[in-house]
Amino acid sequence: MTFEDLHLGSIVVSTVRNAPVLIFAAMAGLFAERSGVIDIGLEGKILASAFVSAAVAFTTQNPWYGILAGMAVSIALATLQGYVAVTQKGNQLVAGIAINIAMSGLTFVVAQYFFQQGGRTPDLGTARLPYVTLPGSAAVADVPVLGWIWTQLLGGHSILVYAAFALVPLVHWLLYHTRFGLRLRACGENPHAADAAGVSVERTRYTSMLIAGMLCSFSGAYLAIVQSGFFLRDMSAGMGYLALTAMVFGNWRPFYTFLGCLMFGFFTAVQIQLEGVDLPVVGRIPGALIQMVPYVVTVIALAGLMAKSVAPKAIGVPFVKSR
């Protein structure tokens, strides 16, 4: 294998395919955190919704029911976080970590209880989402470049991939161009100001958590129903933390966060391609070291390129009307 074997096209397509898990979760985190609630519980929500999506999709043999059920569970968890953060005024980090740990255990136990396959759900078989074939794919398939763009890059993905990419401008719009977004941002920056302006901080934060829960469920559904076709214990494999990273990396702004997600997707794809390849100068990098490429790149990017990240000011602080 030589350096030329790096398949750029394949890397790009793979980036597109890898990104949705992160995009959904990171956008979820964005809603929670811009409203002032730290969401370190993304991982647990992804895992829970992945399990429920897969389990219900399998049982009903309908992926859409799976997605809906996953959404319900993820929203329930997000509401629990909201309850802790808003009503109980408890520690949001603790709540998130608790959810991550609890879900790691619970999904296994429940999966084992129902399916007896070691915390795995049975194969979804046909109960998965179809891939979208763009019109005219057959016609252009053999045209160089254009064919690849139309059938591989733009076409041939699950509907959730399109949803993920469409989500970014939508989130941007919601955040910066609507009443809800204005109130949400205000609650994350200075809830006292929002409150004094007659905005209910509680209501806004709960709503944001609801949205966060909903978006996060797609991440899980994508993992289980689209990418794998079944649920496996702990299959979120750190995605929630990576999404959080992408969000911080993107300075809590939708578009930059999206770039952060793409960056992870991209470097994961590059890392896959780099394994066993003789690179100029450095030669063949050992597999275990190649695994760290995406993470090292992130650290370098954070240290070298980015300005200081500025979190929403009121993040993590329960809103209490008092000195």
Partner: protein, 360 residues
Amino acid sequence: MTTNDMPRWATGIVLPLLNLLSALLVAALAIHLLGEDPVDAMRILVNSAIVNPEGLSYTLFYASTFIFTGLAVSLAMQAGLFNIGAEGQMYFGGLGLTLAMLAFDASLPWYLLIPVGMVGAALFGALWAFIPGYLQAKRGSHIVVTTIMFNFIAASLMNFVIVKYLIPPGEQNTASRVFSDAAALPPLNAWFPALGDTPLNVSFFLSILALVIYGVFVSRSAWGYKLRATGLNKHAAHYAGVKISAMIIVTMLISGALAGLGAVNSIMGSTHYLSLNFVGGAGFVGIAIALMGRQHPVGIFLSSVLFGALIQGGFDLSLEKPNIPTETFIFIQGLIILFCGAMENLYAPVLIKLIKGKKG
């Protein structure tokens, strides 16, 4: 009346107990649904983790590691730094310790070997925390992100080092060679035979010592004062003359060293070799412990013991009740963290009413 002016016995004992009880109640429900008797399960759990001396000794063995990782996270938290990287730091500390052992375990006597191992662990753990600390202090790179990244990087690097350099030729196990006997921490059962054949060792006392030092330094020393000021109000800390970047870096160094010291108990106290993934989540448990224990030495100790007990008791319980998989206890851990750490004031309103009512 708010929780702030409730009597100490109420906030310190009654509320936490009520919360623990709630978590256990939910856990009991889960166990019931799994088809086992919750009361019986609880009895086995308590028996095996606390009552039985050998079980207790395992509980304390696990707690010794958790105290170190919990302290690591707590210390950083005092300075307003959320160190998610204790996992990687402990992993790296294990490497430092192992390198020291591999170099010296044939030549040095135990009383030198043990300190050398500890220094190696602390040094490497600190090293692994240094870069995120430095980047936070000098470049403003978010410590949460960098420490998460450093966990991943540590895993890759350790995988590489162990497989490439540390596995003795011809061995299957992804672990270094076993150290000489001189490198073993004295087990406590030498003095207390009742503890049985368990790995509980002097590092338990070291962890208690670390707790005491932590408690004294954070709440009573000038350094701890500056540390907390930095965590609570950076502007005021700067005004007070604290060198903020140095404070961040030093705090991360000590935090990393503490996490690294967590490896001493696991490796020199029990396995006597470094193996792949030996940390097994102790660093993440440290986060939970720091949060649940409110960064207070007593809180850290109690939560560490609680988590140790859950591991030990849960393990025995799944042995006796095959219907309850070990993973159930991961769920229960989560529940306890949720109730005791995040919803700590769930019963405060009720309790306030009760206290008030009594006073008339």
